[in-house]
């Protein structure tokens, strides 16, 4: 099992009655709620936390992209990954990812990912999400019906740019470049591993499997949603006659560890409630622009986690509900170890993304949560699948001897 530490970077200071007084945490949230001085401290706090996860021995740290969003303060995850790259030396940099449909030309993403791979000595995972409807359609204005077409074109363009040995003309529908020429190349060959964060679109399972990428189920609904998406994904994998290697599947899980089950509630309940009541207070109208989901996905009844019912039934939930429904795996190290082991084996997860900074959780609790998990839970979790399966989808960085050391770097 690969154990990675995921940061959403939520704004921790939304007003107490936010979910009742404001329309949505995403898209039309009043920018007056943001305090730049707090922003300065938050970004540095978040970076400290990512670096701490590296020190604690996590396999990777994960960042992602959101726009006009108070629970995800990362319009550019690449900036965060670049900052982390210089102050860590072990953890993989898992950027999940860049919404490539929106960048014209998407060469910019190819180049920035190559830079991150080079700076970090080959520790990059390149994540290519289609992008969420609130981000891509509402906050960035992209037409829902053609987003997937743009995405496919951007993907093909980036891969070709990474692998072609000569300058070439790219003549796409949405991108036309006479001289495509990536002078700087990624360190990893033929290119950094590609992981696809998915929201449950049925087409994306096939698309991901056909290209032998990792599919990542990123939701805040824990096992329940993971099971629906995971089952669909593994069914398609089996139908294609491909090996059911768990390392093909990434899964995000909210995790809260404390000394005892009771102490976990004392430590984290308030911050979980902040997360489920404020951070995912997403207006229904922005969850799913018409044309964003394909007809097949609508018929399959799979919705994003911002979708109507999803938001409704979370309202007013308390600690016990989150724990009982396994949205969050929480408690003493023993409790977390047992539940998490069961969930990861049942879902056949090989790439765990642990979300341990949740909602309004302040830094000292983030560090406590992370350290307890790393010391008391992670060692046994990492052993899952060891004997059975090989991870063919993680970065292949330079050896320690080959790697530049920050502060002492010199090219020869």
């Amino acid at each position: 099992m690969k154990v990675n530490w995921f940061h959403l970077m939520p704004y921790r200071f939304l007003p107490a009655n936010f979910e009742n007084d404001y329309h949505s945490v995403w898209v039309d949230i009043p920018t007056g709620l943001f305090d730049p001085l707090r922003g300065h401290n938050l970004y540095n706090e978040f970076l400290d936390e990512l670096e701490f996860a590296d020190q604690m021995g996590f396999d990777g740290v994960c960042v992602n992209e959101h726009h006009a969003n108070a629970y995800g303060m990362m319009p550019s995850p690449n900036l965060m990954a670049a900052a982390v790259a210089r102050r860590t030396s072990n953890a993989n940099l898992i950027v999940l990812g860049n919404s490539i449909a929106m960048y014209n030309p998407p060469l910019r993403v190819a180049e920035e990912f190559a830079m991150l791979d080079l700076i970090s000595g080959g520790r990059l995972v390149a994540g290519f999400p289609v992008g969420s409807s609130p981000d891509d359609n509402f906050a960035y204005g992209f037409i829902p019906a053609t987003l997937r077409e743009r995405y496919n074109e951007a993907h093909d363009f980036i891969k070709k740019a990474w692998t072609e040995q000569e300058p070439f003309v790219f003549n796409g529908r949405y991108n036309k470049v006479r001289y495509t020429n990536m002078f700087i190349r990624p360190l990893q060959k033929p290119h950094p591993p590609i992981w696809i964060p998915g929201g449950g679109s049925v087409e994306t399972w096939d698309w991901t499997l056909d290209r032998d990428y990792v599919y990542c189920a990123l939701s805040y609904l824990g096992y329940e949603y993971g099971k629906r998406v995971g089952s669909g994904y593994w069914e398609r994998c089996a139908a294609k006659g491909m090996d059911l290697n768990p390392y093909r599947f990434g899964y995000l899980q909210l995790i809260c560890v404390s000394e005892t089950d009771a102490q976990a509630e004392k430590d984290y309940a308030e911050h979980l409630e902040y997360f489920y009541n404020k951070c995912v207070h997403i207006a229904d109208e922005f969850a799913d622009a018409p044309g964003y989901r394909t007809e097949a996905t609508i018929r399959a009844g799979l919705r994003g986690q911002g979708g109507n019912a999803a938001t409704m039934f979370r309202k007013g939930l308390k600690w016990k509900d989150f724990v009982d429904r396994a949205y969050v795996i929480a408690g003493s190290p023993a409790t977390v170890r047992d539940k998490l082991t069961w969930v990861l084996k049942d879902l056949k997860v090989g790439q765990l993304m642990a979300l341990q900074q949740i909602g309004s959780m302040p830094k000292h609790l983030v560090l406590k949560n992370t350290e307890l998990f790393a010391k008391e839970v992670m060692p046994s979790i990492k052993k899952i699948w060891d004997e059975e399966w090989e991870d063919r989808w993680s970065p292949r960085p330079l050896s320690a001897q080959q790697r530049a050391v920050a502060g002492h770097a010199e090219a020869r």
Binding site: N137, F138, G141, F142, I143, P144, A145, T146, E149, R173, A283, D284, E285, F286, A289, P290, G291, R293, E295, I298, R299
Partner: protein
């Protein structure tokens, strides 16, 4: 009652379903983003005086919208290709809302092929000082509420009542998503795809019809259309009350009379 007919365009890339009924001069009707669920009594009334052709737009009961990508020119060619295939040379062209935008675009592209143009609360412009509401970020109920002068009227209620049969309800959801997705190719995110720079090309005498309490495309847009239609042989404006955006549902008789009067003048 007019039956739905089908004609294939562009080697089958598009199969267009359309109604056609009546005798006399050709009148082509382009429906709104609400679609055209039937050959309505208003079209029936017009067909007493004109040969009425009412196609279902791609995604609204005709297929092929994926071949349009997000290109207004491709949609305009779809419209003219259809009229070519149906041997309609120089029609009276009537469009409502999204269909009004298409009618205006068609008339700007082929100004000599439109005898008269009727634009009923057409989409296609965006005025920064009078922003239109985001129809794509409205729940179905909110959209109906904004579209009607009187959201409590029978026509409005009928639109907000989902089919009782679950399978039919699912199909209705899928059909609505598909139609809005298709309209979104040309109206996302704010309806402005450059029509303001093309309206000057329209030559046909043009009638603008607007509901006085239109909240989706407020009447101030009627004035903007009038101003921008600088090359039209004639521009007439009729504001209707009480009426919101759904003019044919709210003022069926007045709409038919206004269209007949203008087209036969």
């Amino acid at each position: 009652m007019a039956q739905l007919r089908t004609i294939a365009l562009r080697g089958g890339d598009f199969n267009v379903n359309y109604y056609q009924e009546g005798t006399g001069e050709h009148l082509v009707f382009l429906h709104s983003g609400g679609g055209l669920p039937a050959f309505t009594p208003e079209l029936e009334a017009l067909s007493k005086l004109f040969t009425v052709t009412a196609p279902l737009l791609p995604g609204f009961g005709s297929d092929g919208e994926e071949h349009l990508h997000e290109d207004v020119q491709k949609l305009v060619f779809w419209g003219w290709d259809l009229l070519d295939a149906l041997d309609i040379e120089r029609p009276l062209l009537v469009g409502h809302s999204f269909g009004g935008m298409l009618a205006a675009e068609m008339a700007a592209t082929e100004p000599r092929r439109v005898r008269k143009l009727v634009l009923a609360a057409p989409a296609g412009l965006f005025l920064a000082e009078h922003p239109t509401p985001d129809v794509f970020a409205m729940t179905p109920a909110a959209l109906v509420k904004a579209a009607f002068h009187d959201p409590e009227c029978e026509a409005a209620k009928a639109l907000t009542t989902p089919p009782s049969d679950p399978a039919a309800a699912t199909e209705a959801i899928v059909a609505r998503a598909r139609a809005l997705a298709a309209a979104g190719r040309f109206l996302w995110p704010n309806g402005d795809r450059g029509l303001n720079e093309r309206l000057y090309r329209i030559k046909a005498p043009t009638l603008l019809l607007w509901g006085e309490s239109d909240r989706l495309i407020p009447p101030v847009y009627a004035d903007a259309f009038q101003r921008l239609l600088a090359g039209a042989a004639l521009v007439q404006m009729r504001k209707l009350a009480p009426a919101g955006h759904v003019l044919f549902a709210e003022q069926p008789q007045a709409m038919v009379s206004a269209i007949v009067e203008f087209c036969r003048a």
